[in-house]
């Protein structure tokens, strides 16, 4: 591009002409193009609900990653005598409950459990990152932790802590499964749209047929297959757990819409005038794809991403309800809510076990939906420079 804009070399007699060119060049350099992203960001910032949602999601993700650092009770520690304890916020902070000190051992000769043993029971297996966070937390907060401000469950486990640990699983499930769907959908749709013709026709027909398959039932099949002991043993040998399979399966369902959307975009973009214009001034194919086509796809993809994550999280909750989702003792919000629904009896209303997980789920899905709507408006090219 730069070669074409340079003024031709002129003799000094035409200095007026030269000055005019130089002025034009200087002017052109001063004009700053507003990129699509900066423009979208400017518009998104004006949308207060979307910004609050974005902030909430960022804070939530940070807290979920840093959960072991927070002063929470061990999420798996069972204190049976406190089962179904109602939410209590006074005092706000309590000292961590130590089974060794509070309950006399059945066999007095038995050595008292070590801190490592208590942690292993209370937190489950941790990786090195979580272990170091836990160590940091002990150094900062000592033995103090939040009281059960969301109540306790059937086994006396602290619901507040379990909500945070559940957030990790729920968010991870939503994000990773959606990314799997994204990768499959974008490549499939882009290939179909780019190749066009008969290949496109066949590929999209396949998508049409798959659309009318009730996939929930296929998933129930697959996961019940995975539930049998033989397959579990086989999977353990290969080092795959049910969560990984879950990602793949869910991703394999949700890619259909993505493929359609991307294919439609690619087909319409291929014939757009700005692509032709870029080709005319000699831009390389690579430059056209990455500079002109992909950014236009990206906005659709991002919007779709934020709107698919809630669906995936709801789907995970649905599977948890059927006992086919996340495996205990891991927790997810769906599993927690299901535990709450299971203990509903006329005798006592353990409302907190339904309401708090439901609230956590609802707020996050809320935020994702609002952010998705806001992003769709912000990235809409028709709104540009408004």
């Amino acid at each position: 591009m730069t070669e074409t804009e340079q003024p031709p070399a002129l003799p000094s007699t035409q200095s007026a002409e030269l000055q005019r060119y130089e002025r034009l060049l200087a002017e052109a350099e001063q004009i700053q193009g507003i990129s699509l992203w900066r423009d979208a960001w400017r518009r998104l910032r004006k949308n207060r609900v979307a910004m609050i949602s974005l902030g909430y999601l960022i804070v939530l993700s940070l807290l979920a990653v840093l959960t072991p650092l927070l002063p929470l009770q061990p999420p798996r520690q069972q204190i049976t005598k406190l089962a179904f304890q109602a939410p209590t916020a006074s005092p706000l902070f309590i000292r961590e409950y130590k089974i060794a000190e509070n309950e006399p051992a059945e066999n007095p000769d038995e050595p008292l459990p070590t801190q490592a043993k208590i942690d292993a029971d209370g937190f489950g297996p941790l990786n090195w990152f979580d272990r170091s966070l836990l160590a940091a937390r002990r150094a900062i907060f000592g033995e103090w932790c939040f009281n059960s401000i969301c109540g306790r469950d059937r086994l006396g486990r602290d619901l507040f802590a379990r909500l945070f640990w559940g957030a990790r699983v729920s968010l991870l499930v939503g994000l990773v499964a959606t990314l799997v769907a994204l990768v499959i959908g974008v490549s499939y749709g882009a290939i179909a749209g780019y190749l066009g013709g008969r290949v496109d026709n066949v590929m999209m027909r396949i998508v049409d047929v798959m659309y009318s398959i009730p996939f929930i039932f296929v998933v129930i099949f697959i996961i019940s297959i995975l539930n049998t002991e033989d397959v579990k043993a086989l999977m353990a040998k290969w080092g795959i757990d049910r969560l990984t399979v879950f990602f793949l399966v869910v991703g394999a369902i949700f890619w259909l819409t993505m493929a359609r959307v991307v294919r439609g975009q690619v087909v319409s973009l291929r014939n757009e005038q700005f692509v032709e214009a870029a080709r005319v001034i000699g831009a390389s194919r690579r430059r056209i794809i990455f500079r002109h086509v992909v950014p236009n796809l990206l906005s659709v993809v991002i919007v779709y991403l934020t709107l698919t994550i809630p669906q995936v999280m709801l789907f995970e909750a649905f599977l948890s309800f059927l006992g086919l989702g996340v495996e205990r003792p891991d927790v997810s919000w769906g599993l927690l809510a299901n535990e709450g629904v299971e203990v509903i009896t006329p005798v006592r209303t353990v409302w907190w076990m339904v309401v708090y997980p439901g609230l956590a789920l609802a707020m996050t899905l809320f935020a994702l939906n609002f952010l998705g709507d806001g992003l769709r408006d912000a990235l809409d090219p028709r709104m540009k420079n408004r």
Binding site: L314, I344, G358
Partner: protein, 306 residues
Amino acid sequence: MGWFIIKRLGWMLLTLWVVYSVSFVLMRSVPGSPLSAERKVSPEIEQNLKRRYRLDQPLGVQYWDDLRRIVPHGDLGASLKIQDFSVNEIIAQGFPVSASLGILALAFALTLGLTAGIISAVRRGSLADFSMMTIATIGIALPNFVIAGIVIILFVFLWPLFPPGGWGRISNIILPAFCLGAPYAAYIARLTRTGMLDVLSQDYIRTAFAKGLSERTVILRHALRGALLPVVSFLGPAIAGVLTGSLVVEKIFGIPGLGVHFVNAALQLDYPLAMGLVLLYTTLLYVMNLLVDLSYAILDPRVKLH
């Protein structure tokens, strides 16, 4: 239009065949057999049982035999786990239950969603608009078993209006239908509101007002028809969602429909029952989507079926 329907039914057969094959492969790749979980029987008797249910044949033979039995007669075989029942009988018993629940849930979703959507679009920015849209957003973001849990705590235990479960009386169906329909009512409300707002700003609405029609006539006769289009196209996914949602709701409220059978059949490897239900659900879904497409063409004369 006739050609369109024939073509779509052809695609339906293809889809059913794909579903049949996929389900067959999936079911048979499960280790263990439906008979292995029973009490231990002597190998001879197990052999006899297998022969009776034709499980001793090679898989290819089973595949074709099943297909040849299902296609001309619609005979889905005998259940392997529920004694003395053929799959057709189980479906004949459970289907009316699930269908009435689903239809009531959809009717509920449509009436509530459309009313809320129209009111909040017409009274845009009012308190009613704000509160209804907030409730709708909550409805979308909650899984239906959480809604069911909250509703049970409120209206069965705290304020005993309804029985907790069971089937047969009108009071039995109201809560389940509400829980099943609530998320879709919320979606429909939002879609109607957006569609209405779009339509209300168009010229022909201004013309209708200008020629002196009452607000009621303009909204119900002129605007609603245009605003209905997105709602109608959402009905396809909504029907699919109601079908799957009934798995959850039937389990919570103890309703003797098909949903419970499906999960149990899949978990217990009851091949014929699971296959029958999958095929039934696929057919339902396909026919419903076809109806949705047809009604779309009736509502919007610009849409051409091909």
